[in-house]
Every structure is written in structure tokens, then in C-alpha cells.
Amino acid sequence: METAVLNSTTVKKSNFKSEEYFINMGPQHPATHGVLRLLLTIDGEIIKKVEPDLGYIHRSIEKMSESNSYQQIVHLTDRLDYLSSHINNEAVCLCVENALELEVPERVKVIRTILGELTRIASHTLWWGVMGMDVGALTTYFYGFRDREMINDIFEETCGARLTMNYNIPGGLMQDIHPNFVKRVKEFIPHFRSKLPEYDRLLTGNIIFQKRTKGVGVLSREDAINFGASGPVARASGYSCDVRKYHPYSALDKVNFTEALDTAGDSFARYKVRIAEMWESLNIIEQLIDNIPEGDFKVATNAVIKLPKGDFYQKVETARGEFGVYIISTGNKNPYRVKFRSPGLSNLSLLNHIAVGGKIGDLVATMATIDIVVPDIDR
């Protein structure tokens, strides 16, 4: 009945009968960045409704955490948003340390912050490459990965792994940083400073790219707040929500940086916010890299960590937005309930709101700038 009513009104206007149809985008689709399925209702090329169908890679990490000790939970968070695994680890560690009222050494805080910002750059370079690929410029992918490789090498040398690092433990770090760490980071900063303008020349300034992203997927500030958006998605709509500013953790209260903000709220604004964030992350690293204080790389904790009874929440800013860890403890060595507040789920929930009325190509550009990582949504 509804479609009949809709048709009669459109017939009056255009005298042209059109028919809506369903199309399955995913779970195997190049633009859904993993196993996400979108049920699209389309009228010609114009999108009428987007309904995400989730759960293809749900591993029930929250349930698994209920039978793991606090040290063991940390490594599970690597597998949530695997592009900001270090920051996820940090969130759990901070939550446990706060609950235990444990003060970690300054050295640990600074190293965590540097690694966190490197993670953010690594995630954003990958996003930049994939963003270009989604709108059809395939070369960006390789330029993005080239720079990301350097960061991955830094991680590998210090943490032993490139992606799922599990370098943070409650109480500090698993090992001290590698002697080459500072040197390599200092090599990376000028290298990346010289490459970022190249990113702009290749993609940002490109007229086709701007036409594809400007005015596409516009999200207002009110909607960003209402839909619980966070990270670059919310900041591009003018909602200042950087957890690093409002609830600074680790060494972030000691550094100066400006929060990247934009007011346009379209895909291009989200793009620009992420590019600006890479510059800011470089600034943060530069302020800290010369002043890593001497000291221990961890404080001793009990082999079996028991949190006091109560509930604890810790939020951090990952590359995708606000990641929260909510632990309910009954005083045992295992948590009673763990909830990971993933930025991806909230950011994905607004997709239907901003993609409707656009074309299929717009949906792809919007999805790319929302920058979802599916394991983060399917916890």
C-alpha cells in the first residue's frame, strides 16, 4: 500500500513511473571493508533506505572476557578495531589501573601516548589509501601503505607484532622500548611531513574527488550528537568531542595540540578532519619523543589481579572515535561483565540517516569517510 501511495504522488509530479528494488551490498563487496551486509532499497541509482545486517564475524568477545583474567582481556581487544589495537589495549589497562588506583611511571605514560598517536597515523594512512580506492583512485592505496609500513616496522621492532601488538599490560608495558625506537620515530616524522602534502596534491585538491565528496552524506551537529557519533565523524559536523581534550589520559594532558574540527559535516569535511589529525598526531609525537623520562617500564602487579567490587568506565580516543571499556567487577579475578563501547556501531547507525537520497557512488564515498572497521562493530 505504501508504495502505491508513493507512486501516485510521483506520477503527479513527473508522470514517470519508477519502481523500487532491493539490492544486497555485501557481505562480499569491495566497498564494505570486510563482512558487512547492507540491504539497499534503491530507486534507479537513488538510495531510499540502507539497512545494515551485522554479525557475520561476531566472536562474542564480551562473553569470552567474562571467563578471562584482566591480563588476558587486553589481548582480545586487539581483535576489535584491529587498526587501533594499541589504543584499545591502553583503554583496558587504564581501566584496570584506575580501579586498582595504580599509578604507572611517567615513562610508561609517554610511551603509551607516542605509540597511540603512531597507531592513529597508521590507521589514518590506511584509511586514506582505501578512501581513494573507494572513489576510484587506486594508486592512493599504495602510497598510503608505503607510509604505514614504516610505522608497522617501528611497532614490530618494539612490540614484536605489526597489528595485534598486545604491548600494554595492566601496570605498564610488556617490555621496554627497543633502543632503535626513538631513532626510527625521528626518521619517520620528517618523512611523513614530506609525504602529507603529496597526499593533498594527489587526492585532496583533485576536482573529481572534491565533486564526489563535497555536499555528500551531510550530517548535522544535532544528528551527530543524537546518533552518538564520535571521532572524526562527529568532529567534522562541528561537535567537539575529542576524548584526548576532555578526558585526557596517559601523557596527553602534557602536550599541546588543537582538535581538528570542521562544520560542513559532509564527506569532504570528514576527510579533511582526518588529514588534519595526522598533522596533529605528528605534533604530539614530536613534543614527546625527545623527552621520554627515564624509569621503569612497569610497576609490579599481582600475578592474579582482582579488581575491587564496583563498576569502572574508561574512555579513550581511537582512530575511529570514542572507545569505552565498562567493567563490572564483583571482586573476583574475572570480570562479571565487560562492555566495549565501540565507535563503529554508533557511527554505522547513522549511515541510513545520511546516505538516503544519494546515489550508489555517494553511499560508497560516505561509507569510506565513516571509516568503519567491521570487527569493531561485530564484537
Binding site: 587506486l138 602510497y143 573529481i208
Partner: protein, 344 residues
């Protein structure tokens, strides 16, 4: 016995045998050329993207695409159950045959031309727009929504960009006064047309290259395939050799677009400043050099630019290329009328 020799005589006398032989040679040469273009594309893409590219099969990977072709030939032909079988099977041949037909009229050297008709350019424009019917058929008959969207986009795209290709070539025809390709080359002995026609010729060339890239459905106009939007677009449901026909046709079309530009704008087989005029076979060399430079230009576009959106594609055509083209046409006419061309 008598009747058989009569038939053989008939074949030889009417030239059917000759034609068949020439067709066979063209088919082989251009199938190989298509394969070479695929390899070139992969290599060029790799060099743009900080990679090495195929380097395993043969010296520097020269036989990579031959191996790929063998693989594709030996693959099973799958299809959808609910496809319109007849049209589904017909579509790839439509595409490949039209692109091979277009090759017949090119003068590769002064004497190496299969078919010198007096409406050469007209023939090329006509033939190159038949190919899209194959794409439409393929996308529509495979009964897949992604393929259908791709096919419809290709229809929209070709209908609009045909105009620009035609008009920019028409601009040059005003200058040459002939549609016959061999005559167009004769005219260019007193300077390549892009020099003779200077400003309007350069504008026509730019429009031609943009519209030509769109005609071949290559990035930044690859709306039809649009990997990140439609998966594989119109050839989603094709496999094996049928897919290879689409694939090969795209590359041969790219060669054709570049070859037309070479013939019309850059003097075809004529050497620059006539430096090898005494060696007629060098014409083939110069023709291929010019063509491959233009092919490279198209690859450069593809590996640098993002894809346009389908409505922006139409905006570009109807709001920019077409008006400029019409003005350019008048400009060229004025220049020819006032005899302002540059003759060397």
C-alpha cells in the same frame, strides 16, 4: 573434379580467400596486441604505484598475459540459471567483433591498410558505438542487478559521449575536407593537423581524449564496472573466455581510440619533420610510437584520478564538453574560412 576447381577459382578470383587471409592475420595480430596492452597496463600501473608488476612468467614477465589467456581459455564457462541464454552468449561476441572491425580501416603505413573507404571516420564512429550494445545486452541478459545498473550506466555514458567524440572529429574534418583516412594523412604532409589547426585543434584533441576515455569505459569514467560500487558491473556473471572477450575488447578499444587520435591529430604514420620519409616501413614504427604515447596517457589518467559519479559524468558532457565543442566547431570553420591555418 571440375566443380571443385571451379569453386577454388571462384574463391581466388573474387578475392574472398585474400580477404579471409587478411582477416586471419589481423585477428591474430590484434589479439596478441590486446594481450600486450594488458601487460603494458599492468606494468605501467605497477610503476605508478611503487610496485614491480608481473615479473615471473618469462623475461620481465613478458609472457604473463599469455599464461593468463591460457588460463582463461581452460576455465569453465559459468552463468546464471535465469539468464537470457541467447543474448547472454551473444553479448561478448558483439563487443569483440565491433572492436576488431574498427581496426580494418586504419592506415598503419602508406600501403598497409586493409580497407580504404571514403567514409573512414564516419565508419569508425559508427562501429565504435555498436560495441555498447554488447555491453547493454550482457548486463541486461545476465539477470543480475549489479550488472543491470552497470549496463544502464554504460548506455547513458555512451549516448552522451558519442556526441563529443563525433563533434571533435567533425571539427578536424572541416580542416581536412575529407572523411577518407588515407587522404587525411596526405593532408598532414604539410604539418600535423594539431599544428595546422592550432588552438581549435588542441581544444578538439583534449575533448576527444576525455570523451574517448569515456567511450572505452575506463577510469575515471569506469562507471560501467565501478569496482567499488558494483563489484564488476556488467560482466559480473561472465567467466572464462567470455569474460576475456570483454576484457580484451576494452584494451583493443583503448588502442583504437589512441589510433584514431594518432591518425587525425598527429599525422598517422608520418614521421616528425619527414626524417624517415625514404623508408616507408618506418611508418608503422611512427604510428605505433604515437599510438602508445596516447595509450600511456590514458593509463596515466586511469591510475591517477578518482571516478566520477554518474550524474557528474553527464554534467561534464552536457554542460562543459558539448558547448565548448560547438563553439570550437565554429571557431575552426572561421579559421579555415579566413585561412589562418599554419602550414609548414
Amino acid at each position: 573434379m571440375n566443380s571443385i576447381s571451379n569453386i577454388i577459382d571462384w574463391f581466388i578470383n573474387t578475392g574472398v580467400l585474400n580477404m579471409a587471409l587478411i582477416a586471419l592475420i589481423y585477428l591474430t595480430v590484434f589479439a596478441l596486441l590486446g594481450l600486450f596492452l594488458v601487460l603494458l597496463e599492468r606494468k605501467v600501473a605497477a610503476w605508478f604505484q611503487l610496485r614491480i608488476g608481473p615479473n615471473r612468467v618469462g623475461y620481465l614477465g613478458l609472457f604473463q598475459t599469455i599464461a593468463d589467456a591460457l588460463k582463461l581459455v581452460s576455465k569453465e564457462l559459468t552463468g546464471t540459471v535465469k539468464a537470457d541464454k541467447f543474448l547472454y552468449n551473444l553479448a561478448p561476441y558483439f563487443v569483440i567483433v565491433t572492436s576488431l572491425m574498427a581496426l580494418a580501416v586504419f592506415p598503419f603505413t602508406k600501403d598497409l591498410q586493409a580497407f580504404d573507404i571514403n567514409i573512414g571516420i564516419f565508419f569508425l564512429i559508427a562501429i565504435s558505438s555498436i560495441g555498447v550494445i554488447g555491453i547493454l545486452l550482457g548486463g541486461w541478459s545476465s539477470n543480475n542487478k549489479f550488472a543491470l545498473i552497470g549496463a544502464m550506466r554504460s548506455g547513458v555514458q555512451t549516448v552522451s559521449y558519442e556526441l563529443s567524440v563525433g563533434l571533435s572529429l567533425l571539427t578536424m574534418v572541416i580542416l581536412t575536407g575529407s572523411l577518407q583516412l588515407s587522404e587525411i594523412i596526405e593532408v598532414q604532409k604539410s604539418g600535423w593537423l594539431i599544428v595546422q589547426g592550432h588552438i581549435p585543434a588542441i581544444i578538439a584533441f583534449m575533448i576527444y581524449m576525455i570523451a574517448g576515455t569515456a567511450e572505452t569505459n575506463r577510469a575515471p569514467f569506469d562507471m560501467v564496472e565501478a569496482e567499488s560500487e558494483l563489484g564488476a558491473g556488467y560482466h559480473t556473471e561472465y567467466s572464462g573466455m567470455k569474460f576475456a572477450y570483454f576484457f580484451l575488447a576494452e584494451f583493443i578499444n583503448m588502442f583504437i581510440i589512441a589510433a584514431i587520435a594518432t591518425t587525425i591529430f598527429f599525422g598517422g604514420w608520418l614521421s616528425p619533420f619527414g626524417i624517415t620519409e625514404s623508408l616507408p616501413w618506418m611508418g608503422l614504427f611512427w604510428f605505433l610510437v604515437k599510438t602508445f604515447v596516447l595509450v600511456f596517457l590514458m593509463m596515466w589518467f586511469r591510475w591517477t584520478f578518482p571516478r566520477l559519479r554518474v550524474d557528474q559524468l553527464l554534467t561534464l558532457e552536457w554542460k562543459y564538453l558539448l558547448p565548448i565543442n560547438l563553439v570550437n566547431l565554429v571557431l575552426m570553420a572561421v579559421i579555415v574560412w579566413l585561412n589562418l591555418t599554419i602550414q609548414i
